[in-house]
């Protein structure tokens, strides 16, 4: 499935947050959304997820406008993977993943054997089957993020919207999660992922959308659009782009004494 956003604008009262944002994420593509705090990444995601109604513009999934879909139909197409946050109640991992199947059940339906199998398959897909009976609250951050991804996979929607999935993780888990997301894209999922880390966008994303002041400042292949000049505009810092055998590596420009 492809997710298209066309000329999307949104304002909170008189304050414009998004101005004519346009992009398309194709099937099998990992599109990263990059931008400093407060540029409208979260608002963009809320519009895609249906929590906010855009002032103008259209969001479509395979041509179907989101505003014309019921919440259930939207859930059939788009799944959301939030940042990990401490939950109030500790469900087991299996029960957590099982919640992802809710769109397939009627209002009074209880998940049965078929849904449990579906949840187990999702856990297998992310390599977390061994966590099945553990309490979600007692897992490490990396494990929790895996389980939330599994929950979205159990929803069986082809578009995955991920809100900074690596923000609370250690270095190793960040890489493992991003590699997993890249594999999911290769399997045919359409992934839209927001990040604070330009290096992640460079290394893992197929395409990059850069937001600045609610506008789309750049859109294209990460290696093409991300430049030292754009980095300075975005973050107000000077960064060197080192071309290495394993791709472009960002390094903060050293000051006079040789330190950062």
């Amino acid at each position: 499935m492809s997710l298209s956003v066309e000329n999307l604008s949104f304002s909170y009262g008189a304050i414009p947050v998004l101005r004519e944002v346009t992009f398309t994420a194709e099937k099998g593509e990992l599109l990263s959304v990059l931008g400093p705090n407060g540029v409208g990444k979260t608002t963009l995601f809320r519009c895609i997820l249906g929590g906010l109604t855009p002032a103008s513009g259209r969001i479509t999934v395979d041509g179907a406008a989101l505003t014309e879909l019921t919440p259930r139909q939207r859930a059939e197409r788009i799944a959301y993977i939030p940042q990990i946050h401490p939950p109030t109640f500790g469900y087991t991992v299996l029960d957590t993943v099982l919640m992802g199947v809710s769109r397939q059940l009627g209002a009074l339906g209880l998940p049965g054997a078929a849904q449990v199998r579906q949840a187990e398959e999702a856990l297998e897909q992310v390599g977390a089957s061994h966590l099945r009976e553990r309490n979600f609250t007692r897992l490490s951050g990396g494990e929790q993020q895996l389980v939330l991804i599994a929950r979205a996979l159990a929803q069986r929607s082809e578009v995955l919207v991920m809100d900074e999935p690596t923000s609370a993780l250690d270095y190793g888990n960040q890489l493992r999660i991003l590699q997993l997301v890249r594999r999911l894209a290769a399997q045919g999922y359409t992934v839209v992922l927001s990040t604070h880390n330009p290096q992640h966008a460079l290394t893992f994303a197929h395409r990059l959308l850069v937001l600045l002041d609610g506008r789309s400042a750049a859109l294209g292949r990460p290696a093409d659009v991300l430049t030292p000049a754009l980095m300075e505009r975005l973050y107000g810092v000077q960064v060197e782009f080192l071309h290495t055998a394993s791709g472009v590596v960002l390094a903060p420009r050293a000051e006079g004494d040789g330190h950062v």
Binding site: R46, L49, G50, G51, P71, R72, Q73, R74, A75, E76, I78, A79, Y80, P82, H85, P87, T88, F89, G90, Y91, T92, L94, D95, M99, G100, S102, R103, L105, A107, L108, G109, L110, P111, G112, A113, V116, R117, E133, N135, T137, Q155, V161
Partner: protein, 343 residues
Amino acid sequence: MKQKPFCPADRRAALCIAALAAALLALFLFSFVLGRYDVPIWQVVRILLSRLLPLEQTWTGNMATAVLNVRLPRILLACLVGGALSAAGTAYQAVFRNPMAAPDILGASSGACFGAALAILLGAGRLSVTALAFAASLATVVLVYAIARRIRGNQVVNLLLSGIMISSLFSAGTSYIKLVADPSNQLPAITYWLMGSLSGTRMQHVVFALIPMAAGALPLLALRWRINLLTLSEEEARSMGVNTTALRLVVILSATVLTAASVAAAGMIGWVGLVIPHLGRKLVGSDCRRLLPAAMLMGAFFLLAVDNISRNLLAVEIPIGILTAFVGAPFFLYLMTRKEHVL
């Protein structure tokens, strides 16, 4: 039950729920033996069964009266109120994503108290007091919900805030009624009612409570899996296709009907709705598929046990609302001060 793949949590919960049901049945029978008029347990069983089967009468008329007319209604009401308050507490805690939420969080109790105090002031009988308390309780929560819907922003926080405000209004109203009530008979009646009591329960009171309780408990039991989805963030739940506003409204209404019916029938009984869901989570986990039935059985057991103490410990009956607080408050403090603080 449908055949499910092996799942330890399910099996453990099924065992726990069966054990709780057995314990409740045992306590239920044992409760008939307690009291000033002696009835041996085998006679209790025979008297109860005689209502269903043609049994030869081996008991005296007084025994039958004590068991069927005096003790049975009270025991049933204790179980109903305990189960209803626990179910309501479980539901409210899910809606508010907060393990500290209690059934009176949206003003159901303060509304009921106001209604009851008003009815006593007007000289109404027990059933009228119950009816007015029930109506006032429902009206209070509907008011709280309507106000919260008019405020922008986070619905859960709005509900909480307007619940606090409206509760305090009705509490002030109750205080005013106490001030103007006749101190020789009305004021003690109001005060006693507010402390909560199951004494003098007749079968008609049980029926009167059972109907709204069934109306509240059945939707909650039917939705017991979906209730879990309300404990997720608004965005997560919506992205799964859940109509959170409608689901939350149904859960709040059902839990409120349960609370209103309990408070109207038995007065203010605190702590059950707060503490029992915690105990339930320890036993069967947080998933409401298992927690809701377990909490209802535990609540019924707990309130029946406390009521047995309340009517037998001293020559003068201790209001059950006081006893539940004596048990509930220390337990809650224990929960809060424990090192491994996982609620």
